[in-house]
């Protein structure tokens, strides 16, 4: 293959023109030669990722006897859903609701206000917008978890301690910097002529934002929504510090307490792990392409 390409290059003018497939094949060839060690490494990493997940899933389907009696990696001889039933009876439906409320309540405002800010930062000039942008960029460098103590104090003073709203407000603030950054990268890609034509049509910036920028950056918006959703859904520190009553637990916190209470019943604990991940998994299966392609583009621009 590589010799073909080489001879191609040597005959330069005639060789390269009539064969547009050559460079493509050349690249494929490059990858194919990598195959053996790369492929091997790829499969090893797959094993590292999959074995723990496989273990969690099959163990969650085992009875206690199966757990103690069988080989840990063997498929359960008599699979059971009783662990799942037990988890559901431990109020997981409530925790699921709480997680959903907090996630939606944080992600929707985050994306909305970050989109507006990103639009302004990309479209506008001037010291104020530069300052705002700089501040958000700074927010990326600061481990915002370090602010948990004053946030705890503020939430108490606002009389929001032990409420779901208390989880949403800081989540929104924490998510803004990265969301603005990714969205502004995408808005920057909208061709300037489109903005110009909107302006000539007499549209205000407000209209341009909703009618032009929003539809054109929809993939990016879905991406950041899913990404932020994952973060809020899986967040642990804020619920740990800002809520107290069992009725207000979100899933990660519920997992942790459940694990503490049922530490002897590993299959049930692992069923709770699976159950808490299931909704996200469904979302991943549906929006996988969107999430992965959006994230690669958003981070590596």
């Amino acid at each position: 293959m590589s010799t073909v390409l080489k001879s191609n290059a040597e005959e330069t003018p005639t060789g390269s023109r009539p064969n547009p497939a050559a460079p493509k094949r050349g690249l494929g060839n490059r990858m194919r030669r990598l195959n053996v060690p790369a492929g091997l490494g790829g499969w090893i990493w797959l094993a590292i990722i999959i074995i723990p997940i496989y273990y969690v899933v099959i163990t969650s389907l085992k009875t206690q006897e199966g757990y103690f009696g069988q080989n840990p990696l063997a498929v359960p001889t008599s699979p059971t859903l009783e662990n799942y039933q037990m988890v559901l009876e431990a109020d997981f439906a409530q925790y699921f609701m709480n997680s959903t409320i907090v996630t939606l309540g944080a992600v929707i405002p985050t994306v909305l206000i970050s989109f507006m800010a990103a639009f302004a930062i990309v479209r506008g000039k001037g010291r104020f917008l530069k300052l705002v942008n700089g501040m958000f960029l700074m927010g990326l460098a600061i481990p915002l978890q370090a602010t948990i103590i004053p946030i705890y104090l503020m939430i108490i003073r606002l009389n929001l301690y032990d409420s779901l709203l208390a989880l949403m407000l800081p989540s929104i603030a924490f998510a803004i910097p990265l969301t603005v950054l990714i969205l502004s990268n995408f808005i920057r890609d909208v061709p300037n002529e489109l903005f110009e034509s909107m302006r000539l049509d007499g549209c205000s910036e407000w209209q341009t934002m909703w009618r032009l920028a929003l539809p054109l950056t929809r993939p990016a918006i879905v991406t950041v929504a899913i990404y932020n959703g994952l973060h809020v859904w899986n967040g642990f520190l804020l619920p740990l510090v800002l809520t107290q009553s069992p009725g207000l637990r979100v899933l990660p916190l519920a997992l942790w307490t459940f694990q503490g209470e049922y530490s002897v019943n590993i299959p049930a604990v692992l069923a709770s792990v699976v159950l808490s991940t299931l909704p996200i998994l469904v979302l991943y299966v549906v929006g996988r392409r969107q999430l992965l392609s959006g994230l690669t583009a958003g981070f590596s621009k």
Binding site: G26, L34, V56
Partner: protein, 315 residues
């Protein structure tokens, strides 16, 4: 909202920019500036104000419930004299560096691998990203079960060396923490590298092929240099992110055995919310913030002077 924007637009423009931009006016910029207000409000209220708050609280005495008093420099003196701080600092940097050393090569190689055009690689990539979906609490709980010496992986795979007291021996617990962090976060960084690799112009590889450069040469002379900014982006996120590995370690080891995995973030939590010493905990928080800022600035410098700032934007 729409109303607010249009009514306040003109006066704000006049006040803010008496001369305005020569071409398309400051009026438009003022209108745009208003669009940042909601995001700005949230960020100021729940990120900037707490950031100032944590500095103030580092000079206060507070048990988390009662009244807040002044402690002067007392917290700082007591924390800085506490060997626990240096233990936590050392562990934080150890885990940070070890995580970087483990995760960067793996993520980079997997990123190159998954950027390839073969079908099976795309299929593998879908599975690689599964850990991204799990909460740290779930991951920690799963690994605790997985490492059970009798009913976990050691028995399942027939590998007796896996049957260790992972959570009971300091060195093992530390190694475990680094491994589980990599397990959870490599997928994310793989994604970043995959995107970076896909942006390398193909013509570079074609030229290298013509020059007769082999795969390995191409990797070191094209892929790696071309990924410079991706590496900086990923490293920044990884290193700054490592300051907040709180949840995973909290559920997995709780900082133990002893204090052998008690990193700064955990130390802050335990001092503040377990020992009810919010003042000293705030001192730790301030140290965390300073480390985060210093690291980010340092990594931006690595990216080149004129790229500074624009590199973060480039993420």
């Amino acid at each position: 909202m729409s109303n607010a924007v249009s009514t306040t637009r003109k006066p704000a423009a006049r006040a803010g920019r008496p001369k305005g931009d020569p071409g398309h006016g400051g009026q438009r910029n003022a209108a745009l500036a208003w669009l940042t207000v909601p995001a700005l409000f949230f960020f100021l209220a729940f990120a900037v104000v707490p950031l100032a708050g944590v500095l103030i609280l580092s000079f206060a005495s507070w048990d988390g419930i009662g009244a807040i008093g002044s402690a002067g420099l007392g917290n700082w003196f007591s924390v800085l004299a506490d060997p626990g701080l240096y233990n936590a600092l050392g562990l934080t940097f150890l885990i940070m560096i070890a995580s970087w050393l483990v995760q960067t090569p793996i993520s980079l190689l997997l990123g190159v691998f998954t950027a390839g055009s073969q079908r099976y690689r795309a299929a593998l990539a879908v599975l690689y990203f599964l850990p991204l979906l799990l909460s740290s609490a779930a991951v920690a709980i799963a690994f605790k079960a997985l490492l059970d010496p009798n009913f976990g992986l050691a028995t399942g795979l027939g590998l007796p060396f896996l049957a260790q007291d992972w959570l009971g021996v300091p060195q093992l617990a530390l190694g475990l923490v680094i491994f589980v962090i990599a397990w959870q976060f490599v997928p994310f960084h793989t994604l970043i590298y995959q995107g970076g690799v896909r942006q390398i112009p193909r013509s570079l590889y074609e030229a290298a092929e013509i020059d007769g450069a082999g795969t390995i040469k191409q990797f070191f002379h094209i892929t790696l240099p071309q990924l410079k900014y991706t590496i900086i982006t990923s490293s920044t996120l990884m290193v700054v992110g490592s300051l907040t590995y709180f949840d995973l370690i909290f559920v997995l080891t709780g900082g133990g055995p002893g204090n052998s995995t008690r990193i700064l973030a955990l130390d802050m939590y335990l001092r503040g919310f377990r020992a009810n010493l919010m003042g000293p905990a705030s001192v730790i928080a301030v140290i965390l913030v300073l480390i985060g800022l210093a690291l980010a600035l340092f990594l931006q410098r690595l990216g080149g002077k004129d790229k500074q700032g624009s590199q973060l934007e480039g993420m």
